[in-house]
Symmetry: C3
Subunit: 343 residues, 3 copies
């Protein structure tokens, strides 16, 4: 067979390294599309002049462009036969990605655990994105539940990686040159700075976006993520295309501008859950909670740890979990990340 | 509250200057999207070689890209609480915008008039777009009806600016270097030139486009215009998203290529009304009327003043107003602008 | 009348040359949109580094971008009044198109045959695309059935061009510098090379995409192809917009990555039929058949002749024709092309 059947649970082994195919050069074309697909307004990714004032030579590409491209590369090898995308941990952005950079991705299998039913198992991989100089620009752990090809295949030894619940602030990599001492709060869009946010503070981001199928398909394809379930309306019994979870991440992050306009750069991904599936026609809103704050060695740069929750219109204010501890059925995303903000 | 509540009528004062947030670098990525979103074919904005033959170093970005970006910047400060966008006047394009330029916008409040019901008022602003060298590239006046936060707030002194009904040809700025003496009518797509258009002449532009929600949302987001009503289907009682008026302007202008292929550059905006709301599913058509003609000092360059009317499929030919003097319910846009055309 | 009425059958004459309007500069913006609109993953068009390893200075634009732009230019002069797009032959890609190139198109009328009903006729044109250095980058023959303006107009002498059923491998132009000796099959996405494909082999490309109106309209507009039937839902009695046949070509070619990831460059178009109309809501799948193989003089480069069939979900496996010899009603495209593949 010439087509890619994807990998099954028994195909993975601890320490296995997978070089993902199809490197991708990303340009200002991808940036323009990002602005068309998401209500993204963080000034550092919108204006070369604003970025220069923050110590860069030009505006980098949104960190989520880097994430989506690297993630998309890994789909054919990691999640083509995945039943579920279970979690993320220890995600770090290590270098900005600039227009013209070429990204490729490599994954290492760091954990395996067969499910008790013997039909599937959980695979943990650490995926790293590299630029054209072989410098790592991003790495993160994710774990997925993958079907077995042959239920009779023997179970591998269970290895569950020891993952941090959240990155320490000291683990974060502040991009070289970043300097918020000349930061222009007026041009950034909001006056609130590091000191204005208190741990435990919650912000309802007010705005909502109703998603169309054409939009999430264009976004997902742009990252060369070709998982059937996002594109083929005949794949699910209900005739609906499941929206790529990363689309909801980018949408929620963009909506969070309204209240977090100065949380300019994402540098760490502590964890994340795609709590419920999202479909075209859903109106997505978002709220954030300040989980932690920390200083960084970079001039004028603080780090804020944020929970970002995307939810469907109609959910109660700051909805997260039901009394039974499950996610509220209208919660779509529960993301835990570190962002850099001027002090 | 950390989120932007927008300004209310009583927040504005005569002479107030508002520096709008989030400067934006525009590139060939934005141009490609413009061509995907609108049936734009004017050769000067399509081909570097054609633009070079007209005296430029390269093809500038469509003037409406500049307009939309500058307009989009002003939305959070001017029209977030607007009940209606009432009009435009004295719009001038002052410099071409080139790929790589960064635009920001500033508005000055030049008029205020509280409505007799005391609950809202009309705010007049002159908005100017600047490039990265602080050169103005565009300015225009618009006035919007804005709600009051507190109906008891005292009415400001009424100031209604003295606005020109139409720019004089002498007010128009012809871009430096523009020269139509080597103009290639074959490559431009039509043979009709300045002398072939008579004042009073009307042109039905024949083509029509049925609008999808995904398209107008991508377009509007591309300009970082995040007004709720365009994106959130739960915002209006009828569950429809109101299409950004500027989307209809760009669509109608692009459709006008068929009959006005040589009206290459927009240089003046005399006035405009978004006559009726436009929604996804509407099939939009356009007609034009030649209102005036003038010479310019630039070699081979004439100026044509045009009325551009966008209408919904089904309206009678050259529909504009009903017998009562109101806009025909299928008229969407009535725009009055100056364009440059080879003589 | 100022608007373009298109040409009618009696307007064409043998040897007539038509310079099509509106040259177009294509950039990385168009490439980004191509990746958003189609699940395109061939590595040569995705990564500058991969392209450098294949002997180029950078990644060229997808050959189908060149095709669509050139085709789009010809629409206002050739197919505005076309009843049907009947076929293609002798298509050759002659030079890669690079970001920043400006394309224009010229057609020559090479055949005419009035239909027996006297109301229409078949027009054969050879269309050539040129870059900004007046180098031909692409040429192909297509023939369309065009209405007559006046059924009484005399029939022209019938001239039917002598067209090759398929290009010989020796007719193909391998781009200067192309060299697959350092080809990285891992990064390309599949291990199968020239020797692994047998003549007669068929490949079902597995994946499917359900098309939305917003997507095909954005794609078609991007190529400045403004034929009414693709955009105006009031044009057909059933209220559906007919999808541009080229959209189906690009979609099917992109889907064929899964099984033909190493068929990197299209260099020849032997023929093609848009077997049945395609509409939004259709889920499109594809299969290929290896028709022929040949060596080329370029290092490490073989040529594979492929049949690419796009079909609607639900058609039987490898569906092509019914027992009566007609295309199966769910077959959308039957394309015959040459591609270059590492040996």
């Amino acid at each position: 067979m010439k087509t890619n059947p994807g990998h099954f649970f028994e195909d993975y082994s601890i320490g296995q390294r997978i070089d993902h195919a199809v490197p991708r050069t990303v340009t200002t074309g991808e940036r323009a599309l990002y602005h068309a697909l998401y209500p993204a307004r963080h000034a550092l990714f919108s204006s070369d002049e604003f970025a220069e004032r923050c110590g860069f030579d030009q505006s980098p590409l949104d960190e989520l462009i880097a994430f989506h491209v690297v993630f998309g590369k890994s789909v054919p090898d990691i999640s083509l036969n995945a039943v579920a995308n279970l979690g993320y941990a220890e995600g770090r952005w290590l270098k900005p990605v600039w227009p013209g950079d070429t990204l490729r991705a490599v994954s290492e299998v760091i954990g395996l655990k067969q499910n008790s039913n013997g039909r599937s198992g959980v695979v943990y991989v650490r995926t790293t994105g590299f630029n054209q100089w072989d410098e790592p620009v991003l790495d993160y752990v994710r774990w997925v539940m993958v079907r077995k090809r042959d239920p009779e295949a023997p179970a591998p030894e269970t290895v569950i990686p020891d993952l941090k619940g959240a990155l320490d602030a000291a683990d974060l990599v502040v991009p070289e040159g970043l300097d918020f001492l000349q930061y222009d709060f007026g041009l950034a869009g909001e006056a609130h700075r590091f000191g204005d946010y208190g741990i435990g503070e919650k912000i309802d981001h007010v705005d909502g976006v109703t998603i169309e199928d054409a939009e999430h398909m264009m976004a997902t394809r742009l990252w060369q993520n070709t998982a059937k379930v996002h594109f083929d309306a005949t794949h699910r019994e209900d005739g609906r295309r499941l929206i790529y979870g990363g689309h909801v991440i980018s949408l929620a992050r963009a909506l969070s501008f309204n209240g977090l306009a100065n949380a300019q750069m994402i540098v760490g991904l502590n964890g994340g859950a795609h709590a419920n599936p999202c479909f075209a026609g859903d109106t997505v809103r978002a709220w954030s909670e300040v989980l932690d704050k920390a200083e960084t060695p970079a001039p004028g740069v603080g780090a804020v740890r944020l929970r970002l929750v995307a939810y469907r219109h109609g959910a109660p204010e700051f909805a997260l979990r039901t009394e039974e501890g499950k996610y509220h059925p209208d919660v779509l995303l529960d993301l835990d990340y570190w962002a850099l903000m001027p002090v």
